[in-house]
Amino acid sequence: MLSVSVLAAVIGLAVVATVFLLRSLPSRAEVSPEERAELAGTPMAPLQKRAWWSLLIGAVTLGVITAILMNKGAAAYWEDDNLRMTVVLIFIAGLAAYVSVLLVPLLVGKREGGLDERDQAILSRAPNVQSGIMLVAAAAWLTALPKMFHEEGAVPVVYLYLMFGSIVIATIIGQALGILLGYWMESRHGQS
């Protein structure tokens, strides 16, 4: 019961924050259809393109690992060395792809001026979304596990690894979503 309350509180806070954010938007002047068309005809900023790739990488990594574990079961992950190696390799491949597609270009771009001031402002606001998604992912685990293992009174160790992996992937997805949301909000409402 307590775990459900925690999840409800976290989701409730996220909803309240989102409502406040959305209510603040109409006070800004809407972009006219002509202005929106002009912006739509402009190529995506390099950071925006990389965020889309990063989102795809995060979603595919999470989807493939989830599909494997749903099919074989979490216990098999602990008992079957081959399965565990496969999942770990997919996880590492996802991380490597994220590092090469978004993280390294970001660090190089910041140092060598590849990001303009607007990109940097959007990037600096992305952790607001990223931390929210991480919090919801952690809350979902901490709600689900006590419900699943209430009778046993103990959670199998394997779930700690899965929890860690999923939160890392949620971080990648959250950062990408934060960046894309920043560009989307600016395209609709101008500078935020």
């Binding site: 972009v31 202005e35 002009e38 912006l39 402009t42 190529p43 995506m44 900023a45 390099p46 001026g113 303009d116 001031e117 607007r118 990109d119 560009y183 600016e186 101008g190 500078q191």
Partner: protein
């Protein structure tokens, strides 16, 4: 309280300078074309450094490119 605005003449100045493209201006001042589009639409207020770089491309002072439009309630003048 009404918000003060910063307007600019970037679009006009581009056309007056051999119809410079947005991409060309973006390359010269070191920003993305998206940023130039938003600047021209008055949807983005640049940093002082970017404002100076843009003015320098057109060979003008910042005041000749950007204008500060204060509302009566907050105008210190």
């Amino acid at each position: 309280m009404a918000k003060a605005e910063i307007t600019n003449r970037i679009r006009r100045l581009r056309f007056d300078h051999d119809e410079m493209t947005q991409q060309e201006l973006a390359n010269r001042v070191g920003c993305t074309r998206q940023t130039i589009v938003l600047l021209e639409q008055g949807r983005y207020v640049p940093s002082l450094a970017l404002a100076f770089r843009i003015a320098r491309v057109f060979g003008l002072a910042v005041d000749d490119v950007f204008e500060f439009v204060a509302d009566a309630a907050t105008d210190p003048m």
